[in-house]
Subunit: 307 residues, 6 copies
Amino acid sequence: MEFYFGGTEVNVAISIANFGGKVKHVSSISDDFIGDTAKSYLRKFGVSTSSIVRSKRPLGVYFLEVGAVMRPSSISYNRSHSAFSEIQPEMVNWQKSLKKCTWFHWTGITPALCQGGYLTLKEGLKLAQKKGIEVSVDPTYRSGLWKYGAQPKETLSDLLQYCTIFIGGINEMNEILGTDFKYSNEDFIEASQQIIEKFPSIKKTFDKIRTLINASWHKIRSRMWNGSEFRETEDLDITHIVDRIGTGDAFAAGLIYGLQNFDDYKAMEFGAAASALKHTYEGDVNFSNVDEVMNILKGNTSGRFNR
Amino acid sequence: MEFYFGGTEVNVAISIANFGGKVKHVSSISDDFIGDTAKSYLRKFGVSTSSIVRSKRPLGVYFLEVGAVMRPSSISYNRSHSAFSEIQPEMVNWQKSLKKCTWFHWTGITPALCQGGYLTLKEGLKLAQKKGIEVSVDPTYRSGLWKYGAQPKETLSDLLQYCTIFIGGINEMNEILGTDFKYSNEDFIEASQQIIEKFPSIKKTFDKIRTLINASWHKIRSRMWNGSEFRETEDLDITHIVDRIGTGDAFAAGLIYGLQNFDDYKAMEFGAAASALKHTYEGDVNFSNVDEVMNILKGNTSGRFNR
Amino acid sequence: MEFYFGGTEVNVAISIANFGGKVKHVSSISDDFIGDTAKSYLRKFGVSTSSIVRSKRPLGVYFLEVGAVMRPSSISYNRSHSAFSEIQPEMVNWQKSLKKCTWFHWTGITPALCQGGYLTLKEGLKLAQKKGIEVSVDPTYRSGLWKYGAQPKETLSDLLQYCTIFIGGINEMNEILGTDFKYSNEDFIEASQQIIEKFPSIKKTFDKIRTLINASWHKIRSRMWNGSEFRETEDLDITHIVDRIGTGDAFAAGLIYGLQNFDDYKAMEFGAAASALKHTYEGDVNFSNVDEVMNILKGNTSGRFNR
Amino acid sequence: MEFYFGGTEVNVAISIANFGGKVKHVSSISDDFIGDTAKSYLRKFGVSTSSIVRSKRPLGVYFLEVGAVMRPSSISYNRSHSAFSEIQPEMVNWQKSLKKCTWFHWTGITPALCQGGYLTLKEGLKLAQKKGIEVSVDPTYRSGLWKYGAQPKETLSDLLQYCTIFIGGINEMNEILGTDFKYSNEDFIEASQQIIEKFPSIKKTFDKIRTLINASWHKIRSRMWNGSEFRETEDLDITHIVDRIGTGDAFAAGLIYGLQNFDDYKAMEFGAAASALKHTYEGDVNFSNVDEVMNILKGNTSGRFNR
Amino acid sequence: MEFYFGGTEVNVAISIANFGGKVKHVSSISDDFIGDTAKSYLRKFGVSTSSIVRSKRPLGVYFLEVGAVMRPSSISYNRSHSAFSEIQPEMVNWQKSLKKCTWFHWTGITPALCQGGYLTLKEGLKLAQKKGIEVSVDPTYRSGLWKYGAQPKETLSDLLQYCTIFIGGINEMNEILGTDFKYSNEDFIEASQQIIEKFPSIKKTFDKIRTLINASWHKIRSRMWNGSEFRETEDLDITHIVDRIGTGDAFAAGLIYGLQNFDDYKAMEFGAAASALKHTYEGDVNFSNVDEVMNILKGNTSGRFNR
Amino acid sequence: MEFYFGGTEVNVAISIANFGGKVKHVSSISDDFIGDTAKSYLRKFGVSTSSIVRSKRPLGVYFLEVGAVMRPSSISYNRSHSAFSEIQPEMVNWQKSLKKCTWFHWTGITPALCQGGYLTLKEGLKLAQKKGIEVSVDPTYRSGLWKYGAQPKETLSDLLQYCTIFIGGINEMNEILGTDFKYSNEDFIEASQQIIEKFPSIKKTFDKIRTLINASWHKIRSRMWNGSEFRETEDLDITHIVDRIGTGDAFAAGLIYGLQNFDDYKAMEFGAAASALKHTYEGDVNFSNVDEVMNILKGNTSGRFNR
């Protein structure tokens, strides 16, 4: 059995740190040696742990039985009474946490887990909006979560009013809008437009599209809508998938890094290439650096190394 | 080096136990800590070991150097004087072993190894027939075995007279009939008909057919003949093979489980899907349960898991 | 990181099964693949799982950072909302579970974890007493547990009224009696006598005593009081300790097996030797069989093997 | 982390030894336990170490972070002051080393590393030519080496005058001739002809051509020119690549073995099949023996093994 | 084979960071993925890497064949042309590196390796003295180093003039003073006095003394001289040594942490207990935290853990 | 599970090769990839495999469950029909095998396994005597072998008539002489004298004596009798035993190497030190070289290494 620390926001944070970005992770973890090790893990990748709070409850745990080809993985969660599940708004000092911050990223997992997570996040988002911080969201809607009583649609909508960048696909848009759009570019544009209209602070939507050739050969591309223009990148071939867990997080991280350093189109290309590269690593973390992603953008996809 | 317990009948037994069936394994193993560990191994999967006899001789051993792509595996056998090789009819209490038994499965490996194996098995088959137990056989003819003097054709024929279900391909039929049929459906029907006529207790024949796209991409389907009707399932794609050892045993186990719980056609589908799933596990055991096989039958073959 | 299933009652059950006893484990585990694997684990050692109930809650988890020499191990528990924590008396069919049962063993961990555990156990004990089943208890008092509101002294006393054999040291006796006895034989006798008088169904008390030469060299012996007679075994040397976790469970298992097969004194010797042998295995399970324990009793402690 | 001994000439030597050839490796290694282990490693495969000299400098080291699919491997070299880097002509007794020798193989790595390597090799080549020994060269030009001041073109040309067999592609020919030929057969023939004319001792050129279907599916074939005739083998499919490092060395080894045992065309086939098989092993060594290569030549490429 | 980052100053830095100290490591490492990994390794333990410079040369490497009992370990070094070996004073920005610094620790390994290391260190020490920073030195004299031409005695003396705390034994004192003192307390006092007189900035000397009971049972104590008073701690028993590499670094780290937080005597006790604990970890790093060291000081040396 | 090649004569051969001796192993192994790997294993240590014959039977196998402290290891043999068990005198070309041979060593395992082993060995011994080769024997009597009908006493006596050096203890002497001597030096001298008188070609007897302090602390010394003089070495302490398997073989190898290079007394010391060192390696092979053994003889037993 192998042992990993993970979580969708952690994956995004580590990937941006690997690109050279300065990243801070805000969360609540257990106040024992497992929590200490989790902090070491983040520090190892250069992610700041100075805003992490400690709890008497244990860190959430899950067991993953890794599948193969057409056999899906099995997952056994143990997180409903974890350290994070008892987070409360007063535990996080957002003023201090967001000092010098220029970008705030969150995902739909956080408000899905518990009321405290939702409210704590909302406090942070309010302050971020007040300070004019760019706020991106990856709503990743998973119906299997959301067990504490809140309605996904209302809760996510409440939080989306503080966001400026929407990263997510048709499923998430449909959940939030209560619509039934399909995967076509036309539907994506229409759904995006409705999102932008419903949440005026949101100015752009980004999506990652996966095409399956077979179980181990996929294609990845990216598309966006900014209220007036539709853009779409070329498909990238992943001819042999090592592990697809965390490839959405890798896209978000690449896109966020890209939007801070390049124009929108190159940011989309960078995000898609980062996501493609993630498919070649085991585990849910994208270990690639900027040079490695750029190398894919230049078309160096043979995997041959220069000696 | 890794260490496994294996054997074709053991694979079938474990797979059926994984499906929830009550299974008992009848064999002879060494009376030492290796034999104890072998019993633990069976027990772990829920296979009853109450009819296993113990011998002063060591458990048979083989070493497998695992191949890859077009490089075949190498195997080094050490079993000609093993615990099993000295089994004798009087060592097995068949009355007790077959109490409450409704299905008896055997393979052609058993009579191929030694005279005692052949005679012990024959005693069991006689009693099974007398008690009206369903008897399936997977004759798996391997010419490299059969070293103790018996003729495969005569010996297998002697045992087939007690069987009701024949699981095996053209090669086995040709060996038993002394014919030269090819792989076509027409030949399969004709050969099956001859088997049914020669061994009147046999009512149905089942076969698993593999089509190779390339070394790591195969297709699997199943066909049957019941004396009057030919049935054939759709091809299942295995786009990336992890390990193909034991996929015949997985088919037999799935088929036997299916025939006890479904109609013939669904049993064929279940067997083929079980065999397909086995290609995704390392080692020779099919670890999948009924839900996982059913999932394939429903067409969920993307390997994506639901969170 | 290595992965084990454990628990004090499981350790006792497996050890008795290793001695050839027929053992059934009664508990509640998660209804997922982790729970399935836990059942396989018990079955592998021959422990019956037919009275185990399944729960929607996850299996309790703990992480252990193994210490060395004077550096203690660290442990991080995650079990307050586990599958077991939600057990209720109506979930266990004690009539069926105790059919053909001649010995019932429980430990103080069970009533310490949750109200449901206490009440479920009490139902079983009542029936056991009614059926005249021998009931042994290892109260293993740990103050760090007992968080759900019950008082250890009252709760354990309530359950001790159904017991016939007390396995435990001065600490447990003091907790139950509210006394302050020391480790001397005189105090052990006096405390035991009080236990026997307070709980008339208890007829004998057994204790295991450890003497430390240094961190890796201990001595183990056993003592007992049966209301009229004090007995004590010779010290056994463990000159190099591999792992001392589970050595109390190994003593209990050896003693229980011994009391069913030998006289009291030999049972004490058998328990102490079993506990001594456990020190030579990594993990918390005593893998030794009857011959291996007997070998120690015969004084064969050089560790040399015969070829 | 895994630990290997490697190097292009070592790979060739081991592969020929695996084919049953008698091979001696001439080099300089460190005079410490790492050097001892390197000698053991060669001896294990049957490569003679009697002409290896020992140095006070450490063995060169490199770290390889293995890539996947389109993600290239990273390599970190530490060899500029290694044991080999201080080799000098007077350290090798070529008379003794080449006693009974009938074939001398070298690669372009040796003269690229250091002046001493170049001069030591030249002494050996001179003697080889004098003794009429067949001399093959695989110039493997890597611009990242060649840091000690020598010009690749001049240095390689100086050494090529002692060779009889040229194993290498268009890149190497262009580097040596100062030309700009492409990969077509026509260009190969023209470039080969120029090589043969410039270095009259060279009588034949051999090349291995790789065609990429995708990152994990390649095709390998071989071609040659002997001054008057062009030959080319059929493409061999490698449908799933395990590791492509060392496949050029495997080709050279197979070709050299083939030229000593078969005619030119079969030698080319043998080399290409050996190279194809190497793709199925992890690490840079081709572990296959003659039977296994011959099996591929016979078209047995399903990877199925005979029991 | 296992893979570690190490080095005497790194060990001290990590241990102090484990105690909660803020630590920065100043060095030169390779500018490749091995160097990146080394930085991650330091960051994981919370050691700042902001003053580490990068070099084109590879990181120094050594191979260690671990011994046992009376069999010594073997070590094979490869560092004479490493990244560090080419460090030059102008590469380190000491003003920035020592900003907010209150303690500077160095060891005798640094000036022993190369002229650049010596001169770079001297620049740092000069500035440290000017800024009134406490400077501790562990001269760890190893004659096998010092190959670049400098005289140990002169070089170390040149650097000692900037120090305030001397951590080292009789061997180091003798090397620096050119004397021949023995291990007795009397000699330690006399030698310490001479050190203090020769280097007036040094105010105290500390030493760790090891007594061997046998190869796996040692005792550790500490002694000091401050110009007027001799102090000595009690012996701590290490009854079973797991690994003694890095125990001197653990002492230095514990002592430095102690001197910053406690009085001199308790600092000595803390250092000795830290060193004792290090004997229980594999590898050269002391992973213990303040609570674990304090636990030893309180006499809790049974290794039993509280549940 | 780990996988080793072993056997008492192999251990002796490898150890002498590690000391720099030229050694050839004569045996019969399987003609499959397991046999090939066994040859590689010998070659790796520099043991010549040119006199090894190949058999259609598999290599003998055993499984070892490693014990600890007072818990003995369990062993499960599978060798009664192994490759070696079918060796016949005509299979070994002794003329060629003993060419340039100056020392012949055998153990009592060989004639114990099978008639063919006994007769093949006898042919070799006859030729060795004729050629004046020194012949040492380590009779290692194990009653559990000797199953093919031969009498140990008669068979060993028949072979001892060709020997010149007897390496073995009182047990072996008693078995051969039919006596009942004890372990005292007086009995050793008397028994040795009777051996020398009964087998006139034997001129010296050597014995290794083990004293147990506890299960992990032993002492080793050596004694000899040469017909007129008794010699005895000092005890060597092994304060912590890693693995004692193969320590008798290590003694024999050290003694044989010593007798070829030193006087008798130093050879005894060398053998005892080699045996002591073996206790520090896992597995049954003594990996130490001459320097390492000499280091122990010089009293360097602290296990500290020089940097």
